[in-house]
């Protein structure tokens, strides 16, 4: 068979020839590292509750602590190694978000504080913010439409 017969045949041939990512291994690592990160979050949460903070405040404290730890680990050039190992496990929790803001800030430091750090800090996290905030606005509008009555009651 001639793989170069057409673009379509070549694409199929290349897909067959290129090795796939080790999905099972990646899923397993993502599962336990992601679980571990969430468990650490839960432990911090429980400690906060014990110390008398309410649920909302405890959640905020968990976020702040996890973000702080990850920003620090990113600065030490350690979090990218965790991310390479765990993939989505460390990417999906708030840890991935913190890493995606700190890493461009470090990378573009050489271009100056304003246009470098300031301008490039959100190159990776930007899309998440744009669509995250857009979605919340849409959901908010929908809520307003379908629950107009309950809102007026408030």
């Amino acid at each position: 068979m001639d793989p170069l017969e057409s673009k379509e045949t070549y694409k199929q041939y290349v897909d067959k020839k290129s090795p796939n990512s080790p999905i099972l291994k990646n899923c397993f690592n993502a599962f336990w590292v992601g679980g571990l990160i969430c468990s650490i979050g839960q432990i911090i949460f429980n400690i906060c509750k014990e110390r008398g903070f309410d649920t909302q405040m405890s959640g905020t404290i968990v976020s702040i602590i996890l973000i702080g730890i990850v920003a620090f680990l990113t600065g030490l050039n350690l979090f990218n190694k965790i991310g390479k190992f765990a993939g989505a496990g460390s990417l999906i929790p708030i840890t991935g978000f913190a890493n995606s803001i700190v890493s461009p800030a470090m990378e573009y430091k050489s271009e100056g504080h304003v246009m470098g750090i300031g301008g490039k800090m959100f190159t990776v996290a930007g899309p998440v913010l744009v669509f995250g905030i857009s979605t919340s606005i849409v959901v908010g509008i929908l809520y307003l439409i379908f629950n107009a009555q309950s809102i007026t009651l408030v």
Binding site: K7, Y13, V14, P19, N99, S100, P104, M106, Y108, S110
Partner: protein, 329 residues
């Protein structure tokens, strides 16, 4: 100089590759070819503040190494061809601005080194006595421009390749005892529609096959005419694809073909996935390893075909591939 066949140029007084030099980064220094390079660096910064400055320094030092190894003064060089991966070829421009040699900037992605050699050879066959060709690339500056920040915790797919940190430089001369550049075959732009920017080997392989076949048809040679055929940096996946494609076209190159991106790293211990890439891949492997093999007559006739994938950092679309091809014996 005359054109033979469809797209090959044959030199009547073949230019000699007078001298070569290569400097590589720390990861390449741990690779299997480490002992062939002129200098290996301990860290990616080499005392500079940014990766871009470090890359400029690498190409600058490589060029001064090759000039001093050749035992000539920079005034004897009529012009130079150089390029790299960064926008506007800034590493070459900043690195070589103090040399006071007429400069041509070249961009051919990973094929830049061979493209420079080809253009340089044409000059030597024409007006020039000595021409300098140099390229560089830097893993960190390339990742920064084309992909993600280094500290970002993401996973690289198995088909991705690792940009070589380093620089290769060569001086071409009108007179000399060889190795000679006898024929060059500029490749056509081949686009087989691969859009995955992490699978450059697959994007470039059809271009390699096209150029190789054109070269063989133009010169009336067989693959076995050459002691060895090298591709620029197709990597492991591209290498396998090329062997398959050529087999289906009736050419068997399995026994004397290898790839610079495969040679420069040890896949299992260095975690480089599909192999090396970047301007410096073919540049350092040729300047460091292959040139010495030619000079020591361990290899007599080689065919070096470098291919470049034009990855645009704005669209991140792998559009076309530009293969270049160069033969020497």
């Amino acid at each position: 100089m005359e054109k033979i066949g469809e797209q090959t140029i044959k030199f009547n007084t073949p230019p000699t590759i007078l001298e070569c030099a290569a400097i590589v980064g720390p990861k390449e220094a741990q690779g299997p070819l480490a002992k062939y390079f002129d200098q290996t660096l301990d860290d990616e910064f080499w005392g500079e503040k940014t990766w871009e400055k470090a890359e400029s320094k690498i190409i600058k030092e490589t060029v001064s190494t090759v000039i001093s190894k050749a035992g000539i003064s920079s005034k004897e060089i009529d012009c130079m061809f150089a390029g790299d991966l960064l926008n506007q070829c800034i590493s070459s421009c900043f690195g070589l601005r103090q040399l006071n040699i007429p400069f041509f900037g070249v961009f051919g992605a990973c094929s830049t080194f061979v493209e420079s050699l080809m253009l340089g050879s044409i000059c030597v066959e024409g007006f020039a006595n000595k021409v300098l060709c140099a390229t560089s690339s830097h893993f960190c500056s390339a990742e920064k421009q084309f992909r993600f920040p280094l500290e970002l915790g993401n996973q690289r797919p198995p088909s991705s390749q690792w940009t070589v940190t380093g620089s290769g430089a060569a001086i071409l001369s009108k007179s000399g005892k060889g190795p000679y550049v006898t024929n060059i075959t500029p490749g056509k732009i081949v686009d087989m529609g691969i859009k995955d920017a992490n699978n450059m080997g697959a994007a470039m392989a059809p271009a390699f096959a096209d150029t190789l076949i054109s070269h063989l048809v133009d010169t009336g040679r067989n693959p076995s005419y050459y002691d060895a055929i090298f591709s620029g940096d197709l990597g492991y996946i591209g290498k396998e694809i090329v062997i398959d494609i050529l087999k289906s076209k009736g050419y068997n190159i399995k026994s004397n073909y290898n790839d610079c991106g495969v040679l420069i790293f040890d896949k299992t211990s260095q975690d480089t996935h599909s192999g090396g890439s970047g301007c410096a891949c073919c540049g350092t492997v040729f300047s460091g390893y292959l040139f010495k093999q030619l000079r020591e007559k361990k290899l007599k006739k080689i065919l070096l075909i470098a291919t470049g994938a034009l990855t645009n950092s704005t669209t991140t679309q792998q559009g076309e591939t530009i293969p270049r091809n160069c033969t020497r014996n």
